[in-house]
Amino acid sequence: MYPQPRVEDFINRNFIPVKIHTKEQPQQFERFRAQWTPTIVFLDSDGAERHRFEGFLPTDDFLAQLHLGKAKTAFGRQQFKDAEREFQRIVEELPQTDAAPEALYWAGVARYKGTGDASALADTAAGFRQRYQQSTWAKKASVWAA
C-alpha cells in the first residue's frame, strides 16, 4: 500500500515515519511490544501510544487506520474538535472500511467530550440506526439511544 501516492502523501503530511526491521532492530520490537509483522504503532509527541494495528490491509483500510491514528492522537491530547473532524473524515471519505464504524463511534465521543452536550451521543446512536447496524460499535452506541 505504500507505493500509493495518497498513502505516501498522508504519511508525509501527518507523521514522522520510522521503519523498524525485525532483523535490524529486534530490541525495538520488545521495547514497543510488537509481536507480529506488520505492526503499525502511533505515538504522540510525548511518546504515548495512541493507536496500533497489526496485519496487512488493502489500501483504503490501511488509509483509514492512518486516519484513526491521527484522530486518536488528537483525542488523546484532548484536541476534541480536531479529533472529531478526523474521525468524521473516515466515515465520509472511507465509509466502506472496517475502521468507519469505529470512527463514527469516536466522532460522537469526541463531540461530547468537546462540548459536554450529551445529545452528541444520542445523535451517534441514531446514526448507527442508519448504517453499520451489525457492527460491534453500533452495539456499544446503543446504550446512548434517546
Binding site: 520510522v18 521495547r31 504503532v41 505515538l43
Partner: protein
C-alpha cells in the same frame, strides 16, 4: 513523493517532541 523514512527511533522521538508531531512506527519483516 516517496515516504521519508528514518530508522533512528530515539532521534525520531526527540524530533516528535520538539516539533509536536506524531510518530508512526512500522514494524516489518519485508525482505531487505
Amino acid at each position: 513523493m516517496a515516504i521519508e523514512w528514518t530508522k533512528a527511533v530515539d532521534q525520531a522521538l526527540a524530533d516528535a517532541k520538539a516539533q509536536g508531531r506524531t510518530l508512526m512506527l512500522d514494524f516489518n519483516a519485508a525482505p531487505m
